[in-house]
């Protein structure tokens, strides 16, 4: 019983990181209609931006988080302007291949700038709290709180600002949204900025929980897409639920199968969703 509870704690932790990544991925998917394969590498580069801020200015990680989010948002908008914008009208598939190339370029840049070995934000061991048979690190509470606050901010943005509403409209019904005069180019820029910022946050929190590594984002790409599809494409709230479900399922699965196959669990859930309920938990826009 205690083992299951501990795994659930780990699952919610992983799930909130996945949820942050999936909210951005699902908004990009919804507004731009393509699966963005560089999303995991946005996470990784965000985590490394924060590492630079932490080491250069000697700041705590959570103070570096907003800086990393801003930098990654800028990077995402920049990549869209330089590359994706030019091929958006050709064929959605070309965009997909291009994002695959972006993923590799970003990952190799990380290796070239920061090296390919494991790195951590803080050295030294954090004493975990023991609550009965369960253990919890202080960092875990910080991660969970940061993820919850960010998700709440996204909720406020989507429901209370003009841009947020325009974004939901474009994701719901592209043609109708365009007819009503929504400035598509600006909505797309905002989508990239928010997607990039949230991915960076997910990466930083993941780095706090474990370590930094150039492929840290790529290995989470599959679970993030699984959360996106499970939650319904273009549905930020669905993506949060999806992220938590996938995170818990991946952790709980270690009771039965070797931990190395965790990504396969996310994948199995995704395939099952596509077969049984392709529109996702909350009916997606695609």
């Amino acid at each position: 019983m205690a083992e299951i509870a501990q795994l659930l704690i780990n699952g919610i932790l992983l799930g909130s990181i996945l949820a942050l990544g999936a909210v951005g991925a699902t908004m990009i998917f919804g507004v731009l209609r393509f699966a963005h394969f560089a999303h995991g590498d946005f996470m990784a580069i965000g985590a490394y931006f924060a590492l630079t801020v932490v080491t250069v200015f000697n700041l705590p990680v959570l103070a570096a988080l907003p800086v990393a989010m801003l930098m990654t948002a800028g990077l995402a908008v920049g990549i869209d302007q330089v590359v994706y914008r030019r091929i958006r009208r050709v064929q959605p598939v070309i965009l997909l291949i291009s994002s695959f190339a972006t993923a590799l370029v970003l990952r190799s840049l990380i290796q070239m700038i920061w090296g390919s070995s494991n790195q951590v934000y803080q050295t030294g061991i954090q004493m975990p709290w023991r609550i009965g048979p369960l253990t919890l690190k202080p960092d875990h509470l910080l991660i969970f709180a940061a993820a919850a606050i960010l998700v709440f901010l996204v909720h406020l943005f989507l429901t209370h600002t003009r841009m947020g509403k325009a974004m939901r409209a474009m994701s719901d019904n592209m043609d109708l949204a365009l007819i009503t005069g929504i400035p598509a180019d600006r909505v797309i820029m905002w989508t990239w900025a928010i997607g990039g910022a949230l991915a960076a946050a997910a990466g930083v929190l993941l780095g706090m929980d474990t370590r930094l590594h150039p492929v840290m984002g790529w290995t989470l790409l599959l679970p993030i897409f699984a959360a996106t599809i499970l939650g319904g494409i273009g549905r930020p709230y669905g993506a949060i639920v999806g992220g938590l479900v996938i995170g818990c399922a991946m952790e709980l699965s270690t009771l039965i199968i070797p931990g190395a196959y965790k990504p396969a669990v996310a994948f199995a859930i995704m395939v099952a969703t596509l077969i049984v309920r392709p529109q996702g938990i909350i009916r997606g826009s695609l």
């Binding site: 394969f37 091929i87 590799l104 370029v105």
Partner: protein, 310 residues
């Protein structure tokens, strides 16, 4: 470099071009002809390479070996093992839209790699399978002849397939699925067939690869080598055009090899790691191709309609 070592290098180089050409021909069957977005090439590549390696190596305590079968039996085995795997995957994914199919196939490729990484009894895990013989002890030059035969054979078969009624249905599905279905074609079945045939060609490439390098480990089937380079070749050469595909394999492999020379010239302090710099260059190259010439070097040519005016 004297001319002898240059010759030896070109033989080595052309062998790899040939092996990749087989992989790209397989991918062209799926994407170029049918419009199936498979970015799990590495998975079928790995299945082919491992099957062929396990079937042809001598007995060992470290992996499932000891069949000691001849080279050709290994290749046939690679294709036979791939058929049910590709059939099941194709069956599940055939109805998926392009971007779902992309996510699903990349997941499958990663799971296949995880499988070979973790099931040590089968594949010796990270240590990989060494000592895969070159057939008939022919050396690199002789092997080049074998690879060339396989490339020519595969090319011939896919060209026939492409011109056949079967290939015409595939292109029709790619260009207009609804109209093809309305014409009474079983779209799902044709898709599944193209997926399985394409995957088998990739597995054949994997088998050829295993016998050329003599040692395989899960490292070789990371998405970069197994999938990404193959896609760059297809897009650069001209998807849908088999001759373009062969040209793409050659050109991209030349560029990929010259990035090694370029990376060697750069100061290490500037680029950090050589392999990362090469990946960076090839990624940027693909972006440039996609932005400036998405149809590739040799764009697809429509076959002449039978009976059309000359």
């Amino acid at each position: 470099m004297d001319w002898l070592s240059l010759l030896a290098y070109s033989v080595f180089f052309l062998n790899l071009v040939g092996i990749y050409a087989v992989l790209v021909l397989g991918l062209n069957m799926q994407w170029g002809m049918t419009g199936q977005f498979n970015i799990g090439v590495a998975g079928f590549f790995a299945v082919g390479a491992y099957t062929s390696a396990i079937l042809t190596t001598g007995p060992s305590d470290d992996w499932l070996g000891g069949f000691d079968l001849p080279f050709l039996a290994g290749l046939v085995g690679a294709v036979i093992v791939t058929i049910p795997i590709a059939w099941v995957i194709g069956r599940i994914t055939a109805r998926l839209r392009t971007d779902y199919l992309a996510i699903a196939t990349i997941g499958i490729a990663e799971i296949i790699r995880l499988f070979f990484l973790n099931e040590g009894w089968l594949s010796n895990g990270t240590r990989g399978i060494p000592g895969i013989d070159t057939p008939f002890n022919v050396g690199n030059a002789g092997y080049l002849l074998i690879v060339t035969l396989f490339v020519a054979g595969t090319y011939w078969l896919v060209e026939i397939a492409q011109r056949s009624p079967w290939g015409r249905v595939l292109r029709a599905i790619r260009d207009n699925e609804a109209a093809t279905a309305a014409a009474g074609k079983d779209v799902a079945r044709f898709r599944l067939e193209a997926f399985v045939v394409g995957s088998c060609i990739m597995a054949l490439g994997g088998g050829l690869y295993a016998h050329f390098v003599g040692f395989i480990s899960p490292e070789a089937f990371r998405p970069l080598y197994g999938t990404f380079l193959v896609w760059v070749m297809l897009i650069a050469g001209g998807s849908g055009n088999n001759r373009g595909v062969l040209l793409g394999a050659l050109v991209v492999w030349i560029i990929w090899s010259s990035t090694e020379i370029l990376a060697g010239l750069m100061p290490t302090a500037l680029i950090g790691s050589e392999s990362a710099f090469r990946i960076f260059l090839i990624g940027v190259l693909l972006q440039i191709i996609l932005v400036s010439r998405p149809q590739g070097l040799l764009p697809e040519k429509r076959p002449r309609m039978p009976g059309a005016g000359r």
